[in-house]
């Protein structure tokens, strides 16, 4: 219900009012008796209802005053009475100085306005002489007279003969603009022409043109639908016939055609029960016309409403045949033609009521403060006269003030009723400057987009949401909870409130189909009953209207059957229609890009600094501001990012499952908790792992990988995903890597080893000792593999690693011994140990040797002892334990370069077994040693060692070689001695030669260093060219020399 109200302004003036005119603070009332009453017209400060007080009464004639007007510029009052138009000077009204417009005799009506002549600019201050001119147009019998256009002003009248007599004249343009070039002249309710004024053309300064003769466009259902819950609907009872008959008789007075100016040069003309909108060119401006239940009695316009008085039968008295129609003021919203309210004037005690006049109030100076234009104010004055003769004489007519509600309240009301487009029309008509933000166009257009969502016009709704930067969380809330919105979901009946509409706002106007049909049928019947009273066309119009009204409104109504093609989101469907999803993707994709732009200038805080999105209540998400992303705070921006990405992934899951993977892999702000269950439900495990990885939620990813692996049989499917994942983690995640690789080592250590041996920078940078320690505990075989990799492939030199590898090799050999298994394997392992002990340079032998039991692995022990420098012990092992003389000799060969007497040591071991060992001296290996390495053995200790009785044969080779060796050495020494001697002599000769050189110092000789004379100073001679310098210049000069030589 819109907030219009009606108040008595002048109840019961005890006379019949035939004309009223309000101008500024005066109300002029013309009576049937020919008197003119002047009332004050004031609006008290504390009240929005005007007050009127009788000031004066002038008797101007004996005939009823038919029309009153005020020429504001020339301060004259126009009175039309007895077909004569008379101008009275307003200040001198008592003096009755009057001008009768003789040129305009037989006048039926007039209209007046003010205009700004061409070439004059409207001055900003409204001083008296502002160049404005009055214009008066009088409609006479078969002609029209125009005053105020020529040079003579009001004294000069231009005439044009017409085929009919104008009964009503309307200026399409508002006052105080330029000269109206077009004026509507109404002859009958069906016929009108356009009068054109062209002062520039002397021959043709007045001309007429016809308006379109095609029938007016049909009405939409909107103008007839009463506001919800309105008791004063346009219901016509079954007994309408008699009542209407009575009405027609009563209403015969209003034969004059009706019309009003609206905005933008448009006029509304009442064509019987249809209100047609026409342009200044005489064409229909709209595709719809306004529908009244019957021809209106009065018509007025005050932006943005059309006010009309139509007789309506009271529904309650439908059964009584004496029902009398009540004049009802219908108020339609001009931009959309929706009927906003119907007001009934109070019924008189007897008989009916006729409304003869309605006029739009005129303010002297319209307020410039926008807010003031929005408040409740009086828009219309209405004159009513009882139809009962006695009552009419006793009480006379009444004047009512019609007040509009506050525009803001009206906007809210329209929104509440689900008529957002009407609200938009209203705000567009009055301008949004004085309104609060929630009543302005951006907000209303957003709300309209919400209603479009409900109607299935997803794409255009999304475009609107994008324009107004609507919080994405709100958009997502409109989608089904199960697939898209989750906790954000809001049921359809709360959508409007979610977007900030007034409480209880509906998505579409509520229409009770049954009631509507009933009403429509009632109208049809009653109209049909009227027979020839109405034109056929209007009956058709009504039927059409009735048909339409029974279908729920919405665009789909226009094309029957189209409804099927626009799937509408239903609460119970988990999956929204395709078009809705596409539109949502469109919206989110755009938001995503805008987000990227905002992030590039306004960096996001890390997600980890805030609690996850899933911890935010739906309300908190809904409350994110709907402003451009660049204006959000970093935290808000992060939240919006999370909302967008989480929403996007959910839409993809429904509409583009393949893209889920792409989204998970790129940088994103998806809230994992929100989507992980959805991803799992759709078996998008791989994508979920990617998402975890991107979010550094490696623990979850690895757990998931493990779960997935359990279902794989083939080991090539089972392990590599986890292995690859672990290989990418790097040192910072070491403990996780170790923890998560456990199960692979349990099942397949060889595969597991790849985690630590892959040729990846992340893997190579893992701390080796930690890995080694872990592997040692987990799986020794893998640990060996790892150590072999780092030592052999990566060249690790660290003693710890070498020690550990040796130790592990050793342990492995030992472990193999315990088993009854194959000897070969043990041999292989042992060989490997020995090979390592020999090849590696950095292990610490004493560590391993302490682990060796006294008599196990003698070769290894010997190796270790050798490394420790305990050659004797080592050799003893070879000789006594192993009795492997070639190995012992080999050992010596290896050790010889650093140990001169190693062979002697071996020989001693051979020949002088320790007393407690109880071994015999080993003569034959000793002798073979002697013969093979005789030159590496000092002869005399050998002789000491040799047992007293040795066949010469056995040792002759040794002696021979030793002697020969001794001789060779002797000869070499002799040769060398002589060579050295020869060289010494050569040098002596050279020195002698050099010492024989002389230099001559004369007085003239100058030191090449300091360029002073040498004189008797101490000198130095420089070789080889014999330069002479001062002694103290020697060092610097020789430095210079050596430098010049390079």
């Amino acid at each position: 219900m819109a907030g219009f109200s009606i108040h008595p302004l002048l109840p019961s003036v005890k006379a019949k009012i035939t004309a009223i005119y309000q101008h500024d603070d005066r109300l002029y009332v013309g009576l049937a008796s020919g008197s003119l009453q002047i009332h004050s017209y004031t609006i008290p400060k504390d009240d929005d209802k005007p007050k009127a007080e009788l000031l004066k009464t002038h008797t101007l004639g004996k005939r009823p005053i038919d029309q009153i007007g005020i020429l504001g510029e020339s301060k004259q009052i126009i009175i039309l009475s007895d077909t004569v138009v008379t101008l009275y000077s307003l200040p001198d009204l008592p003096k009755k100085s009057s001008i009768v417009l003789n040129q305009a005799r037989s006048a039926h009506c007039f209209a007046h306005t003010t205009y700004l002549p061409k070439g004059l600019k409207k001055s900003s201050d409204s001083t008296l002489d502002n160049g404005m001119k009055d214009l008066l147009v009088v409609g006479c019998r078969k002609k029209v007279v125009v005053y105020g256009t020529g040079k003579g002003g009001l004294k000069e009248g231009w005439e044009l003969n017409l085929p009919h007599s104008p009964r009503t004249i309307i200026f399409p343009s508002p006052p105080s603009t330029s000269l109206p070039e077009t004026i509507d002249l109404l002859f009958t309710p069906q016929t009108s022409v356009l009068l054109h004024i062209n002062p520039a053309s002397s021959a043709n300064r007045l001309s007429v043109s016809d308006v379109t003769t095609s029938p007016p466009p049909p009405s939409s259902s909107a103008s007839l639908i009463a506001e919800e819950g309105g008791s004063t609907g346009i219901t016509m009872g079954m007994g309408a016939l008699s009542g209407l008959g009575g009405y027609v008789g009563l209403g015969s007075k209003s034969a004059a055609p009706l019309g009003t100016r609206t905005v933008g040069g448009e006029v509304l003309l009442a064509r019987d029960d249809l209100g047609a909108f026409l342009s200044s060119e005489g064409n229909y401006t709209r595709t719809e016309s306004l529908q009244w239940p019957g021809p209106p009695d009065a018509l007025g316009f005050a932006n943005p409403y059309i006010y009309s008085v139509v007789p309506v039968l009271p529904s309650s008295s439908a059964s009584t045949s004496s029902a009398i129609p009540i004049p009802t003021i219908q108020i339609h919203l001009a931009p959309t033609l929706i009927l906003r309210q119907a007001l009934t004037l109070p019924s008189p005690s007897a008989g009916g009521l006729s409304v003869s006049h309605m006029m739009t109030t005129i303010k002297a100076s319209p307020s410039t403060v926008p807010a003031e234009n929005m408040v409740s104010s009086t828009k219309m004055l209405v004159v009513s006269t009882p139809t009962d003769k006695q009552l009419s004489q006793a009480e006379g007519s009444s004047i009512w003030a019609l007040n509009s509600g506050e525009i803001g309240d009206e906007v809210d009301q329209l929104v509440k009723e689900g008529r957002v487009s009407d609200a938009i029309g209203l705000v567009e008509a009055v301008g949004e400057n004085g309104l609060s933000p929630s009543r302005r166009l951006p907000h209303l257009q957003t709300l309209q987009a919400v209603t479009q969502m409900a109607k299935g016009e997803y794409q255009s709704a999304m475009e609107t949401f994008l324009i107004f930067n609507v919080n994405p969380a709100l958009i997502l809330s409109l989608f089904p909870a199960e697939t898209i919105s989750g906790r954000l979901h809001v049921p359809k009946d709360q959508w409007m409130e979610l977007f900030g509409a007034v409480e209880g706002a509906k998505l579409a106007p509520h229409i009770e189909t049954d009631k509507e049909e009933g009403t429509a049928r009632g109208i049809l019947k009653s109209v049909a009953g009227l027979g020839g009273l109405s034109k056929k066309g209007s009956i058709n119009g009504l039927r059409e209207m009735g048909d339409n009204a029974s279908i729920r409104s919405g665009k789909s109504v226009d094309k029957n059957g189209e409804q099927e093609k626009v799937p509408i989101m239903k609460e119970e469907d988990a999956i929204p229609p395709r078009a809705a999803l596409e539109a949502l993707m469109y919206f989110l994709s755009d938001r995503r890009q805008k987000l990227a732009g905002a992030i590039s200038t306004n960096h996001l805080p890390p997600e980890s600094e805030y609690p996850p999105l899933s911890s935010l209540s739906a309300k908190e998400q809904h409350n994110l501001p709907s402003i451009p992303f660049t204006e959000l705070t970093p935290e808000q921006l992060l939240r919006v990012a999370q909302v967008i990405y989480t929403g996007l992934i959910k839409v993809y899951l429904v509409a583009r499952p393949i893209l889920v993977g792409s989204l998970c892999r790129i940088e994103n702000w998806c809230d994992v908790e929100e989507v992980e269950e959805l991803l799992k439900a759709q078996k998008k495990f791989g994508d979920l792992i990617d998402l975890y990885q991107g979010k550094k939620m490696h623990g979850k990813a690895l757990k998931m990988l493990h779960e997935l692996a359990k279902e794989e049989e083939d080991k090539l499917d089972r392990y590599p995903p986890t292995i690859r994942y672990l290989q990418k983690l790097g040192p910072s995640q070491l403990s996780l890597i170790l923890k998560s690789s456990d199960w692979i080592f349990d099942e397949d250590p060889k595969m597991g080893l790849q985690i630590f041996t892959a040729d990846e920078p992340e893997v190579e940078s893992l701390p080796r000792s930690e890995v080694m320690q872990f592997l040692e505990k987990t799986n020794q075989e893998a640990c060996i593999g790892y150590l072999e990799h780092v030592i052999h492939t990566l060249g690790e030199e660290g003693s710890d690693f070498h020690d550990k590898l040796a130790e592990l090799y050793h342990a492995r050999v030992k472990a193999e011994e315990g088993k009854n298994g194959s000897i070969e394997l043990r041999q292989e392992y042992y060989a490997k140990l020995l090979e390592f002990l020999e090849a590696s340079k950095t292990y610490r032998p004493y560590r391993l040797i302490s682990k060796l039991a006294a008599d196990e692995m003698p070769e290894a022990r010997a190796f270790l002892l050798g490394r420790m420098g305990k050659h004797e012990e080592a050799l003893r092992i070879y000789v006594y334990r192993l009795e492997d003389y070639p190995q012992a000799e080999l050992y010596c060969v290896r050790a010889y370069p650093t140990n001169d007497d190693i062979f002697l040591l071996l020989l001693r071991i051979y020949l002088r077994p320790s007393a407690n060992s109880g071994k015999e001296a080993l003569l034959s290996p000793a002798l073979s040693l002697l013969s093979k390495y005789s030159t590496s053995l000092p002869p005399s200790p050998v002789l000491d060692l040799l047992p007293p009785l040795v066949p010469m044969q056995e040792v002759d080779k040794f002696f021979l070689l030793t002697l020969r060796d001794t001789h060779t050495k002797q000869n070499e020494a002799r040769l060398l001695k002589n060579l050295v001697k020869g060289r010494n002599e050569e040098l002596d000769r050279l020195v002698l030669g050099l010492e024989g050189k002389r230099v001559r110092i004369t007085d003239q000789r100058i030191c090449p260093q300091c360029h002073k004379r040498l004189g008797n100073s101490a000198i130095a001679v420089h070789s080889p060219r014999g330069e002479v310098t001062h002694l103290h210049c020697k060092d610097s000069f020789s430095a210079k020399l050596s430098k010049s030589r390079g």
Binding site: A579, R592, A596, L648, S662, R665
Partner: protein, 206 residues
């Protein structure tokens, strides 16, 4: 296809900054090359007409700024694309490794109806540099392309105009096939249509 109406192919070129996207386009459209590097700001497009399978088509090449990932180009930029060209520099491993990300990014932003069969073409640019500088082998690139659904691969040099013409001919051919595919989609009375119609109406959102 029966209508033989004029075909406009929208091709998006993506890749890391400095791989030569603008140069390739300039070489193809204007037959020009400049050694100077000037970072592209935002996005720009060039068009060239060519004949593919006896049809004259206009190819609209959208060059993007690789430098900062995705300024606010708005939703319309990637929408309605008929082919996406991924460019990397064969002398930079990093630019090659970024291809995955560019591909994913494109798919997410363009949300094509059939992401699995959307045509991509990969260009390995700057092969005119000396062999010793090369970081990505042809084999490595081709393996990647194969794994992503047999993406056509070309090694190009915008500087020496090597393979540029051939590469863009393939791009146009694949884009045309995609265009035909979308038309097929459009033949269905599917609400999807709303979308593609709109994308045509949209010029630029920036």
């Amino acid at each position: 296809m029966a209508s033989r109406k004029k075909v406009l192919l929208k091709v998006i070129i993506l890749g890391d900054s400095g791989v030569g996207k603008t140069s390739l386009m300039n070489q193809y459209v204007n037959k020009r090359f400049s050694n100077q590097y000037k970072a592209t700001i935002g996005a720009d497009f060039l068009t060239r007409e060519l004949v593919v399978d006896d049809r004259v088509v206009t190819m609209q090449l959208w060059d993007t700024a690789g430098q900062e990932r995705f300024q606010s180009l708005g939703v319309a930029f990637y929408r309605g694309a008929d082919c996406c060209v991924l460019v990397y520099d064969v002398n930079s491993s990093k630019s090659f490794e970024a291809l995955d990300g560019w591909r994913d990014e494109f798919l997410v932003q363009a949300s094509p109806h059939d992401p699995e069969n959307f045509p991509f073409v990969v260009l390995g640019n700057k092969i005119d540099m000396e062999e010793s500088k090369r970081m990505v082998s042809q084999k490595r690139a081709m393996t990647w392309c194969q794994a992503k659904g047999n993406i056509p691969y070309f090694e190009t040099s915008a500087k020496e105009a090597i393979n540029v013409e051939q590469a863009f001919q393939t791009i146009a051919k694949n884009a045309l096939a995609q265009e035909a595919e979308t038309e097929l989609y459009n033949d269905y009375p599917d609400p999807i249509r709303i979308d593609s119609e709109n994308s045509q109406n949209y010029g630029c959102n920036c």
